[in-house]
Symmetry: C2
Subunit: 176 residues, 2 copies
């Protein structure tokens, strides 16, 4: 039986994730914010030139019984896409979002402009899911990420995330 606590404990034991570099005032995302106690707290990492995140859905994240609901799949891909965009933009600027464990590096924050998910086959509910990203394009303003989601080494969804740098105007005064 899985629990939210278990997902979080596993994440906490791992090395520092892209999302751990988000400044406090933009670290509340339900999908991946380390400061959202109710959320999924997705954690993304470099794996060579690709990126990877892992997440075990909870028993009630159902579509048709036995399968993961598509909204969660879209959410995980979305947050892994914006995390990958942050890491790619940081790398392009000479910063490494897998180093500096106790330091002062802060990730640039990206938001999603467009998300496309093709659901290739049903995703079984139970196994840990693996979300992988490949950076296809990096400009000052925009990063394009292609992603897959797999269960038990079988790709069940393919996606493209177009992420854009967060407008400064999105940060509320005093929101941190």
């Amino acid at each position: 039986m899985w629990t939210s606590d278990q997902n979080r404990t596993m994440a906490a034991q791992a090395r520092k994730a892209f999302q751990d570099y988000y400044p406090d005032d933009v670290a509340h995302c339900y999908g991946c914010g380390r400061l959202n106690e109710r959320g999924h707290q997705l954690k993304s990492y470099w794996d060579g030139d690709a990126t990877v995140a892992r997440f075990t859905p909870l028993p009630y994240h159902t579509a048709i019984p036995g399968y993961v609901y598509g909204g969660l799949i879209a959410s995980l891909i979305d947050c892994h896409g914006t995390g990958t965009a942050a890491a790619a933009a940081a790398r392009a600027a000479g910063q490494d979002l897998s180093g500096d464990p106790g330091g002062s590096v802060e990730a640039p924050r990206f938001v999603t402009a467009s998300l496309r998910v093709d659901y290739l086959r049903p995703t079984p509910l139970g196994p840990e899911l693996e979300i992988r990203g490949v950076v296809k394009e990096v400009t000052e303003r925009k990063v394009v990420v292609e992603a897959t989601l797999s269960a038990e080494a079988e790709v069940t969804a393919r996606a493209t995330v177009i992420a854009v740098r967060m407008p400064e105007s999105m940060i509320e005064p005093g929101s941190s």
Copy 2:
């Protein structure tokens, strides 16, 4: 202050939704299943030839503070899309998913083949969201739905959902 109970009470007071016509063994979706006690229980209805659903996010459904996270927006559009597909397919077969309140009509169940969401502007967190669907194509196997999501009468996301009839093989024996 919003609560899950409040969303559900409002839904229960309304007329029968598309999702209320799903057979019990396929009514557990986290996004829209009436039998998923932990889920969003989205409810979709005809509004003339368009379809509509309304949902008030909870305070922790945050992206950047003050805004709704993109994964929830994708989820709501996804479930409204498959619900609209069910209603459109039923209508094409001469059945009405807004009538028969106590009767035996069952909705055909569709699953998502492809979801594309364009996030046009940040969606404010707080107001009730309105998701609207327009049926663009109906075949025996596939329904294409174009959707918008709005907050305070401003469209913040546009989407296309390609829904396909659920393969019978997805239903687990004894899953109800």
